[in-house]
Amino acid sequence: MKTVKKLKFTFNIALLLILIVIFAAISILNPVFLSPEYLLNVVLRNVVELGLISLPMTLIIITGGIDLSVGNIMVLSAMVGAMAAGRMGSVAGVIVTFLVGLACGLFNGIIIAKVKVPAMVTTLASMFLFLGLTRGMTGGDSVYAFPAAEAVGSKLFLGIPVQIFIYMICAVLFYILLAKSTFGRRLFGIGLNSNATKYCGVDIEKMLIRIYALSGLMCALAALIMIGRFSSLRYDAGTNINLKVITIVVLGGTSILGGTGDLKGTILATLIIGVLNSGLTVLNIPIDTQTIVHGTILIISLIAYEIVNRRTSSKRLKEVKTELLKKTG
């Protein structure tokens, strides 16, 4: 147990160091990056949607599942919400956005938990479905923002973009949910050994449906912010987001196999990706290079994680061996 704790600790410190190094390097190369307006309005603001979705994604990956459809849930709920807002006003738009997000999440969750189709297959198929529904309903056109979405996507509060406050509140809530509640403990249990958890009296099906539904709701929230920020959205805007969110979660040290991970890592990884994206833009590096940088960082972090992991497990094995030797004399 002690070694596991130590592992997490070092990994988060490593992430923090990476963040500081990248941040310092970019600020030295281009001091514009350091101005508070730039940091708030570009660096943080651009990564809020990804950050919001990566919170529930961390929970899902901890249970050993995955959700490849988040970006498409997001765009679908934004589309339907914007259409409803156009006819019935802003309030209806917001309500419909959340309802659609919830419905999509429930759809995934029920198929995964009740019908027991693997999460990857389910969300792969529902990705097609949601993408197709969005495309079919809009006929390939864009939809435009409505006042309520603009309020969360492009307005300032105390001189700071509103969505940053939203992200901070959500991050704290999710942290408490995962690290300080029985709900969170149970998620780790499902990821480590779902049978054992089941026989400890946890209703796994209900838990899974809940976290996928929660993911749908967070996608809807991110959707409101995104459509408010861009003021218009095309049907295929969400496809890239799926993989980016998974990149963030994995970079944050959550094992894709389930059972390990924490939200501090995910939050740090969100900041790293945010600083990198805006930083590379500030340095006039083309967007394609940014994709390479993302990929490389993901690979390096995976290799680092693997090495740290292997070292701790072999250390643990040694400890057990010496203890056994002591006992047997």
Partner: protein, 328 residues
């Protein structure tokens, strides 16, 4: 043991049987309601699409049987399209650029395999990372697209016709699928794939070199992506850097629709053939039914969901409890 094997066989038979039944129903439906669907030119277009989806899906099938996955296939095929086009631009004939593209595909896909086996990175994450690398490198190497390609390059799609009507890619498809079916049925190697997918440690203890087998599976799949890339690329005189991005989902969907479980260890190539055919059918079919092509993705997603749900309900009782939801 014997009994359970028989049962297993029966179960697989019915999955493919139902799929075939569904396909026949769709084809009958189209015959009645979609006027002009059975036009020769439409059928040949459909066949061409089917050819490249199936060739890539054969490779994907091998990978998924080992309980791995390859989400980089689309980006990789885009890279290979550009490689083929840059060779074709020099006026080189297909006899040169097809093997070179296949070799390039094999090497690049082998990198995926090495990441997964040597560095113990889960397949979905490793190929996710290489997707980003492939997508990022391409636009740096090529400015948007390679165009004004000579007739020697587009020869496969335009001039080479079997018996004057069939697209020549059909020959490639037939070679791949016949070899594939025989290979998956009779070769020792395919048994190793199934063994790894069923029980990796068991396979290792039984003397299977697990890492090498997985790397070889990825390498073969890469070579097959090379053929797919040539078929996709030669279809026009302009090859763009994003030509096949997102196609990996179609390849995976064809395999999954064909009854292969992403948990690995089961599934037959013949199911993948039917799956690929159904998926290639969707967009021309709705076009002839007078539905906007914008709905094609939704219908494709619906079909996949229905089929996986149906097969899951079918085998739910027989399934061990330990096959937890949300597993790999």
């Amino acid at each position: 043991m014997d009994n359970s094997q028989k049962k297993n066989l029966k179960k697989l038979m019915t999955t493919e049987f139902y799929l075939l039944l569904f396909l026949i129903l769709v084809l009958l439906f189209l015959a009645v309601f979609a006027k002009g669907f059975y036009d020769l030119s439409n059928l040949m277009n459909l066949l061409n699409r089917f050819n490249y989806v199936l060739i890539a899906a054969v490779g994907m099938n091998m990978i998924i049987i080992t309980s791995n996955i390859d989400v980089s296939a689309g980006a990789l095929v885009s890279v290979l399209c550009i490689i083929a086009a840059s060779l074709g631009k020099q006026g080189l004939p297909i006899g040169v650029f097809l093997p070179v593209t296949m070799a390039a595909g094999a090497v690049l896909s082998m990198i995926n395999g090495l990441f997964i086996t040597k560095l113990h990175i889960p397949a979905i994450v490793a190929t996710l990372a290489t997707t980003q690398l492939f997508q990022g490198v391409l636009p740096l190497a090529v400015n948007g697209s390679i165009y004004d390609l000579p007739a020697t390059f587009t020869w496969l799609a335009y001039d080479a016709k079997l018996f004057g009507i069939f697209p020549a890619s059909t020959v490639l498809m037939l070679v791949v699928i016949v070899t594939g079916l025989l290979f998956m049925k009779y070769s020792k190697f395919s048994k190793k794939l199934y063994a790894i997918g069923n029980n990796k440690n068991g396979a290792r203890l039984a003397g299977v070199n697990v890492d090498r087998t997985i790397v070889i599976a990825y390498t073969i799949a890469g070579a097959l992506y090379g053929i797919t890339a040539v078929i996709i690329g030669t279809a026009s005189q302009r090859v763009t850097t994003t030509m096949a991005n997102g196609k990996e989902m179609t390849f995976i969907a064809a395999v999954v629709l064909g009854g292969t479980s992403t948990a690995g260890g089961s599934g037959k190539l013949i199911g993948t053939v039917i799956g690929a055919f159904i998926l290639s059918l969707v967009s021309p079919a709705i076009n002839y039914l007078g539905i906007s092509p914008d709905w094609s993705d939704a219908i494709m997603g619906g079909i996949i969901i229905l089929s996986v749900v149906a097969s899951a309900v079918n085998i739910k009782k027989k399934r061990r409890i330990s096959a937890a939801p949300g597993g790999r």
